[in-house]
Structure formats: structure tokens, C-alpha cells
């Protein structure tokens, strides 16, 4: 029987049935993620230059020996386009997500651990940021500042920061109200200590889950922006733009649209499954 009336930290979860430390799903997801990361880094240099050129080939050609993924709406090789797009999707989306989640969480920690006034000011400021709908904000930003990559990354980060902030804050505030944090304060621990050592470890789990989903949203935001004509500009294309460019292939069920969509799905599912299946200690319990 445990003593839950005294000020002890929460007990670790009950022992579960014996399971390998890193399960098969995590391995698989990790492998997929690693594959795409490598593709992003060295993929384009492996593909020959002629890979993505408009050739004599038909538009929306099916899968063949010459074109493993078929051809796109201009007759270019889809495999080459997907590999070239990996950099944009992985790079831009990942950077923006990390920025958004990271700064959102930090700000939330600050708000939760500080007094009412700072909390209110931060929350109001972040709310103000969220009030304009994401796509509208992106539309205006791109119309004003162009669609270069740094602008896109920053815009996506700004759009998704408040979400991370709000969720982190509501979690953090709940933790902050707990007894052991009060005890830590009474002990004389500073704000930074409480933020990083008391609250953060307890919210990392849900925040990682949120990060996984946030990553998906950023990838999709880039795709939506290209739908509105604003995202990564041709001839460069991220996966979402590839889906958009080749939407005419949908009724034909051609590989040109299925492959980029599968690429997006594989990446986002891999990221989320990996997070879900990381070894228990890293996530504060599942």
C-alpha cells in the first residue's frame, strides 16, 4: 500500500508485462524516418539531373521501368520530384514545428511558473496572435513578404506556436497546482528550476504527442498554401505542392498523385508512431 497523503512524488507506473525495450513498431517507424532524412540530405545529389526534366514522355504515364513512380503533369519523373521535394517537406516542416512547439512550450512554462500578471500578459499576447485564422495570416504574410523559405518557416511557426502554448500551459498550470510543486517553491527553488525540473518532465509526454500532430499540421499547411498558390514556388515543390500540381491525375488514379500523398502519410505516421512507441522512460509513462 502506498502513502499518497504525504508529499512524495508520484509513483512510477505499475510494472507492465515484459516487453522489449524498443518494440517493432518503433523500429519500423524510426527506419522510415531515417530513410526520409537521408533522402532529404543526399537524395537530390543521387538523382541525375535529367531525372526531373520534361522529356518525350507522356503526361501522367503509369509506373514503368523507366519511371518507377510514373510521370507528372508535365511529363517529369515523379520519383525524382518526390526525392527533391523531401528537403522542403522535412526541412521546412520540421524546422517550423520544432520552433513552434519549442517556443510555445517554453513560453507556457514561463507563464505557468510565474505570477498571475505575467501569465495574463503572455496568454493575451499569444491569444492575439491566434485570433487571425492560420491560412488567412499566411495569405497576408506571403502577399506582403513573398514566399521565400525563411518567410514560410517563420509564418508556419507563428501560426502553430499559440496552439502548442495553450496546450502546454493548460497542462503546466495543472501540474503547477500540484502539491509537490508548492513544496518545491517553499523549499526556495527559483522559477527556472521549477519550470525545467518540476513541470517540464511531467508535460513532455503529451507535448511530444502534440508535436507529432503539429508536424502533420505544418506539412499540411504548406500543402494548403500551395493550393492557394502561395507556398513553395515551382519549379521547387514540397510534397504537398506535388499533390496539388498533380490533382488532375486523381480521377485516373495515377501514381503521380498517389506517391506524394503516400510519402506525406508515411512520414507523418512514422513520426507519430515513433513518438507513441518510444521507450517508456523518455515519455514520462504511457
Amino acid at each position: 500500500m502506498n502513502d499518497s497523503t504525504l508529499t512524495l512524488p508520484p509513483k512510477p507506473p505499475k510494472p507492465r508485462p515484459v516487453r522489449p525495450a524498443v518494440n517493432a513498431v518503433a523500429l519500423l517507424s524510426g527506419a522510415v524516418l531515417l530513410f526520409w532524412l537521408i533522402a532529404a540530405l543526399i537524395g537530390p545529389s543521387l538523382m541525375s539531373q535529367g531525372g526531373a526534366s520534361m522529356g518525350e514522355d507522356a503526361v501522367f504515364a503509369p509506373i514503368s521501368a523507366a519511371h518507377w513512380f510514373g510521370t507528372d503533369f508535365l511529363g517529369r519523373d515523379v520519383l525524382a520530384r518526390v526525392v527533391q521535394g523531401t528537403r522542403y517537406t522535412v526541412g521546412v516542416a520540421l524546422t517550423a514545428t520544432l520552433l513552434a512547439s519549442g517556443s510555445g512550450t517554453l513560453l507556457a512554462l514561463l507563464a505557468a511558473a510565474s505570477g498571475r500578471w505575467l501569465d495574463a500578459v503572455l496568454s493575451r499576447a499569444v491569444d492575439t496572435l491566434t485570433s487571425v485564422p492560420g491560412k488567412m495570416f499566411a495569405l497576408i504574410m506571403v502577399a506582403a513578404f513573398g514566399s521565400r523559405l525563411p518567410t514560410l518557416i517563420l509564418t508556419a511557426a507563428i501560426i502553430y506556436l499559440p496552439g502548442a502554448y495553450r496546450i502546454a500551459r493548460s497542462l503546466a498550470v495543472n501540474i503547477d497546482a500540484m502539491d509537490y510543486v508548492t513544496v518545491a517553491r517553499t523549499r526556495g527553488e527559483g522559477r527556472l528550476y521549477i519550470m525545467l525540473h518540476e513541470i517540464l518532465p511531467n508535460i513532455i509526454g503529451p507535448m511530444l504527442a502534440d508535436l507529432g500532430l503539429r508536424f502533420v499540421y505544418v506539412v499540411l499547411l504548406l500543402a494548403s498554401l500551395s493550393f492557394l498558390g502561395l507556398g513553395v514556388q515551382p519549379p521547387a515543390a514540397d510534397w504537398g505542392s506535388l499533390v496539388r500540381e498533380n490533382i488532375g491525375a486523381l480521377p485516373l488514379g495515377s501514381a503521380a498523385i498517389i506517391m506524394p500523398a503516400l510519402a506525406i502519410a508515411s512520414l507523418t505516421i512514422a513520426v507519430n508512431l515513433l513518438i507513441d512507441n518510444l521507450p517508456g522512460s523518455a515519455r514520462g509513462g504511457h
Binding site: Q49, S53, M54, V59, F60, F73, L74, G75, V142, A143, S147, G229, L230, Q233, P234, P235, I247, G248, L250, P251, L252
Partner: protein
């Protein structure tokens, strides 16, 4: 209509009427065959006549029915004011509600519309005799005052008319009789009737300030109009063209997304959609009950190389780029065959002044390389600005970029969003793309885009000789001489201007096979946007 004439010819008036009546009442092929063979006619002949009767029936317009049409744009700026109209949605609504003094037919020749006749002796002073007994939708009769108001208002800057540049050449418009109007130009222009047949010059009631009621003399009356959403127009039973229009009602909406437009057509929600992407053509044709209607027009997206700034100051660069345009490739992979090759001059084959004798400039990598070397540009990056606002320009730029790589020229394609392209990039980029909509009058086209001091002279092409030819061709009444002058101007542009025109684009519309009566008018798709008057529904 040919079919019914032939039938008439073959079996005589009485029998052809009988046959057509039977088909109209719903007789099947077997019934018609029975009718024909009852008199002892041979089976094969009866079969042939029966087919003819059905074809004749199909080509006969039928009254009644309601259609839903979608254009490619819908915005809060949708307007019923002819002076402000700017896109196919506006133009389509305009032709439903209004008429012009003249209208342009399939060869872009002006035909009498509200003006029964138009005459001139010197191409400077024109007399238009107005049709009698034409009424506006609210019952008021058409008078010269309406014509005067409708045309002169374009000259007033406060109207902010899109046709101001064209209207500036008109000095005065005066009522010169009970049904007569005299137009005096500042300089002779044999194309005035053509200009007055374009959308902006449609006739509205004298003194109209609020155009949301859409009162005009046109084939349809306005029932509902929500800018950015839809319009509904019902048949004008008092229309001055007897028997027309055929339909009871037309609902017109704008759907910005091409995929959504095509899907709505194929799911049966719509009867006619405009601006179909060539990549959707096979799908529409492959679905039973639907067809594609193609209009080859003079619309083009052009490569602009400014002669006064940037790499275009070097004529060798311009020549290199012109030889780098792989027109066949663009026609094949960008327009999927729905285009006609261009030859770096703006007058297209549907125009009566098209000069067929100009040798077609070919895609020639060697010549391009040669000129590139001469120009000394080397492998410095040359930004090329394109945008979806200029149809196919992004894809064309990509094709050129690829070809340029083969000769060591580094073209850096910069795609700008459609939003604000015309205001910010079109005339400012040193190397970029523009787009010119079909203009029925060769003179209008050349004056607006190639005259030395024209506001829209994209490549800053300045030639005194060209300007002189332009002025003299306007006043020239001898057709052969005029043709020669236009031929010379086309050659000059082909050789000297900083303009590359790869293709003349065709407009593609999708429609249900129940909709008949569409025939191309090269002003644009949807029968030059005047489909409302001409189409009917089958069965």
C-alpha cells in the same frame, strides 16, 4: 440546319415536315422507318432518310429549359457595369443582359446588332442607324441618347472604365436623327465597328448610375445577382431577335478551382463549364453524356524581354531566347495539343490580317548558343518572372529553363502568385511573362501593345516606321493594301521586338451533350461569352 434543308430537298416540303413533326413528338427510329416504308420506299433509303430526319431534328433549336453554367472566377468585384467588366464571368453576364451596336461573328467580322447599318466615307465620321422598336427590359425604348451616354462615359476618368484607352480615339458621339447616331473619331480608324462590338461598349440606359439591376436590351432579364456567388437571368420575351433566346433561365456561378468545376459538370450539377484544363479533356470526353468545346483564339502568353533594361538591351540575348523557345514541346506537354504555334508576332491565324508568309522561327539550339555567345551573358543567372495570372507562363518558363541548361544559359524561374501580378511585375520585370486576351481588331492589338508610346508596350519596342504603318493602315480602305501593311508590321515585330510568342491558346469548355448550338467565336470560350443567346437544350 443543313440537315433539315437536305431532307426538305430530298423528300419534299410536306413529307419533311411530317417526318420532323413525328420525331418531335417522340417517334422512334423504327416508327420513322415504318412511316417511310409504308409508301413502298426501299429499306436502305428509308434508313438514310430516317437518320437525316433525326439529325435535322437535333439541329433544330428547342425552346425551354434551364441551365447552370460555371465560369472560372467569382469575386465580390463581379459587376454588371460594362465599363468595369474584366473577366469571363462578367462578360458572360453582360452578353446575357445587354447588346452592343454591333456583334462579332465566328470570323470576328462586325454584324449589325443594335445598329441596323453603319456607314462611313473617310473612316473618321461614322453614321450608325439604330434598329427601331427595341426596348429595354423595363419597357423604355432605345434612343440615340442611350448610345451617346453608353459610349461617352468611357472617356470620363471618373468612370474608371477599362476601355478608356480605346475610347480616347472617339471625339464625339452625337444623336443625328430620330434613330441615328454619328460618331466622330480623332483620326481615321476602319475598325471602329469591330471595337464597338466588344464587351465594354455595350449599350445601357441613358443616365444609369446603379448597374445592379442590369437593365439592358439583351436576350435575358436579370432575376437575381449576388456578386461573388451567382446570377440568375430569365428569358426576355420581348427580345428584338425573333425566336431567340431559347432557354427559359440561365444560372451563372463562378467556381475558382478547375477540378471542382469539372467534377461539378461530371456529377450533373452543371451543364456548361468554362476554362477546362487540357488535362481534364480526356476525362470529360470519356464520360458518356459530356463533350468538350474548343475555341481557338488569339489569346497568348508572351515572353517579354525589355529592350531598355536588363539583358534585353543586348539584341543577341533576345534572339538567343527566341530560338530557345521549344514551341512544339510546349504545345505538346503544356497545352496538350490545344494550341496553335505562334511565331513571335501577335496576330493569330483566325484574324483576317494574319500573314501566313512569315517563315516560322524554329527551336534551334545552335543558333541560340551562337547568339548567347555573342551576347556575352555567359552563365550569369537571368531571373524570369512568371505567374499563373498569365496562362501557362510558369510551365513555359520551366520548358525554357530546361532548354537553356543545354546551352549553358542559367534561367532562374521566379513564380509570383497571381495576386497583384499585373500591378507589380508584369511591366516591371526585365524578363518575364505577360498574357494578352483575344482582341478582335488587329489594329487595337497593335496600338495597345506595340505602338512606341503605348502604356502597355511590354518590351519597349520603339520604331517610327512601325508607328507610321499603324496610322496609315487604320485609314486604309483598300483591303489588299491594308493586308500588306499588317504583314509588314508582323514581320517587324517578329524580327525586332523583345517579344516571344510560343503559342496561341485555345479555350476549352466542357458541356453536357444535351446542350446544343455552341459554335466558336474567337473572342474567348463560351462562344465568345455570348452563348446565352444561341444555345438550346435537347430533350
Amino acid at each position: 440546319m443543313n440537315e433539315s434543308k437536305r431532307l426538305h430537298h430530298l423528300v419534299g416540303p410536306q413529307d419533311s415536315t411530317r417526318l420532323l413533326e413525328a420525331v418531335k413528338r417522340g417517334a422512334s427510329r423504327r416508327d420513322v422507318l415504318a412511316m417511310l416504308m409504308a409508301g413502298g420506299m426501299q429499306a436502305t433509303l428509308a434508313g438514310g432518310l430516317s437518320s437525316l430526319a433525326f439529325a435535322a431534328h437535333a439541329a433544330t433549336p428547342k425552346r425551354g429549359g434551364r441551365i447552370r453554367v460555371a465560369g472560372a472566377t467569382a469575386a465580390i468585384t463581379d459587376t454588371l457595369d460594362p465599363a468595369k467588366m474584366s473577366n469571363q464571368t462578367d462578360y458572360s453576364r453582360g452578353t446575357m443582359l445587354y447588346n452592343g451596336l454591333t456583334s462579332l461573328d465566328g470570323s470576328l467580322t462586325p454584324q449589325p446588332a443594335l445598329a441596323e447599318s453603319f456607314d462611313t466615307k473617310d473612316a473618321k465620321t461614322w453614321v450608325f442607324k439604330l434598329r427601331k422598336d427595341v426596348k429595354f427590359h423595363d419597357g423604355k425604348a432605345l434612343t440615340p441618347a442611350d448610345v451617346v451616354f453608353s459610349i461617352m462615359r468611357h472617356k470620363d476618368p471618373a468612370t474608371a472604365s477599362k476601355a478608356k484607352a480605346l475610347a480616347d480615339q472617339i471625339d464625339t458621339v452625337k444623336a443625328s436623327g430620330a434613330n441615328e447616331v454619328t460618331v466622330t473619331l480623332s483620326a481615321a480608324n476602319a475598325d471602329l465597328p469591330v471595337i464597338l462590338g466588344t464587351f465594354h461598349f455595350m449599350i445601357v440606359k441613358d443616365g444609369t448610375a446603379d448597374f445592379s439591376t442590369g437593365i439592358g436590351t439583351g436576350p435575358y432579364k436579370l432575376k437575381e445577382f449576388k456578386p461573388g456567388v451567382r446570377s440568375i437571368a430569365v428569358r426576355n420575351d420581348a427580345y428584338w431577335k425573333p425566336g431567340k433566346p431559347y432557354l427559359d433561365e440561365i444560372e451563372f456561378v463562378g467556381i475558382g478551382d478547375e477540378g471542382a468545376r469539372v467534377n461539378a459538370l461530371l456529377s450533373g450539377d452543371l451543364d456548361l463549364v468554362a476554362s477546362v484544363n487540357p488535362r481534364s479533356v480526356d476525362r470529360i470526353k470519356g464520360t458518356p453524356g459530356f463533350a468538350v468545346f474548343s475555341t481557338q483564339s488569339g489569346q497568348y502568353s508572351d515572353l517579354i524581354m525589355r529592350k531598355d533594361a536588363g539583358p534585353g538591351t543586348n539584341p543577341d540575348f533576345i534572339l538567343a531566347m527566341k530560338h530557345l523557345i521549344d514551341r512544339e514541346q510546349m504545345r505538346k506537354s503544356v497545352a496538350l495539343g490545344h494550341a496553335v504555334l505562334g511565331n513571335d508576332q501577335p496576330i493569330d491565324p483566325t484574324n483576317r490580317f494574319y500573314f501566313a508568309g512569315l517563315p516560322q522561327r524554329a527551336f534551334d539550339l545552335d543558333k541560340a548558343k551562337f547568339h548567347l555567345k555573342k551576347s556575352g551573358i555567359g552563365d550569369a543567372a537571368v531571373p524570369v518572372v512568371a505567374s499563373p495570372a498569365a496562362l501557362y507562363s510558369v510551365e513555359m518558363a520551366l520548358v525554357m529553363q530546361q532548354a537553356a541548361q543545354k546551352i549553358g544559359l542559367n534561367l532562374d524561374v521566379k513564380r509570383m502568385p497571381a495576386d497583384g501580378y499585373w500591378a507589380n511585375h508584369w511591366l516591371n520585370s526585365q524578363v518575364g511573362f505577360g498574357n494578352v486576351n483575344p482582341r478582335p481588331s488587329a489594329d487595337t492589338l497593335l496600338t495597345l501593345f506595340f505602338k512606341s508610346d503605348a502604356a502597355w508596350n511590354e518590351s519597349r519596342f520603339k520604331s517610327e516606321k512601325f508607328d507610321q504603318l499603324l496610322v496609315s493602315s487604320r485609314a486604309e480602305t483598300d483591303l489588299a493594301k491594308r493586308k500588306q501593311q499588317y504583314a509588314d508590321m508582323q514581320t517587324m515585330i517578329h524580327e525586332q521586338a523583345g517579344i516571344g510568342i510560343p503559342l496561341f491558346l485555345a479555350s476549352l469548355d466542357g458541356h453536357s451533350t444535351k446542350l446544343n448550338g455552341l459554335s466558336p467565336i474567337p473572342l474567348g470560350g463560351l462562344m465568345g461569352y455570348s452563348f446565352g443567346e444561341h444555345v438550346w437544350l435537347e430533350g
